[in-house]
């Protein structure tokens, strides 16, 4: 088995369980906040399975930026597509967002903006590190 596929599955399986735990915490917060939540058995099962799958894909897709043969753009693209697909499908299946064009548009824009901001932060942090590395390299080259 390809080592990246193996890592994807391993990371996915390790962190998948956190999905339903986060779901339970959200329901508890809603309960404590006085929000009335009434769910059928099917809805509960759907929510648990969906959050498990979301957490699995979220953790698993963190391997994409580490695939050495892939360009950073390709890694970011596949990670973004994976996350967008699984989150959107999960939210729609559970009716956490209504299937209305304007809602999907706002949700998609929010997702894309948040994703880009995260990547910009990673880029800026990396740039700062690289500046320090270049200073050290210049010192070595001057010796």
């Amino acid at each position: 088995m390809n080592k990246y596929v193996k890592s994807y599955l391993l990371r996915g399986l390790i962190f998948a369980g956190f999905g339903p735990i986060i779901l339970a915490i959200i329901y508890l917060i809603l309960e404590w906040s006085g929000v009335k939540v009434e769910l059928s058995v099917y809805q509960i099962c759907s929510a648990i399975i969906t959050t498990y799958v979301i957490a699995f894909v979220h953790a698993g897709s963190s391997i994409f930026p580490q695939i050495e043969k892939w360009s950073p753009f390709k890694s970011a693209f596949f990670q973004g597509i994976s996350l967008y697909t699984v989150y959107t499908a999960g939210y729609l299946i559970n009716n956490w967002i209504p299937l209305k064009p304007i809602v999907i548009l706002i949700y998609s824009l929010t997702f894309v903006v948040a994703f880009i901001i995260i990547w910009i932060i990673i880029y800026l942090v990396s740039k700062k590190t690289v500046k320090k590395m270049n200073n050290k390299l210049n010192e070595i080259n001057k010796e």
Binding site: P65, Q66, E68, T129, K132, M133, L137
Partner: protein, 144 residues
Amino acid sequence: MKCFTFIDNKQEEKVVIYAKEKTSLVEEIEKLVSSTGVSLTGTYEDTTILIDPIEVACFIVEGGKIFALIGEKKYQLKERLYQLEDMPFNEYFVKLNQSCLGNIKQMKEFKTSIGGATLVIFKNGYKDYISRRELKHVKERIGL
């Protein structure tokens, strides 16, 4: 600089230098000692030459074969990458990713690319990415 030689077959062979600063003489001695006993040969267009590791920008794996990049030439080696990692000259080299061993002295600069990946540009123009796994080691090796 004073020089002492002790012939003793019970002792481990080693060269210890005490110097007030790192001069070109010290570097020459280091270079001589680190290259002693290492004979790397590389083949380029039917010509086989003895390779001086200090001149190598990096060792790379391409199509399952190992190459030493010297200037614009690519010499094929018989050694495997893990064998090169353990050679006496490895003080100049650091693993950049699974298929590249780079010479610190031949590195020109580091660059950031979109996605936070770090790129190394060598003096001969060759470029390669540092994997996230190896970034920590590279930073340590350059004294960061």
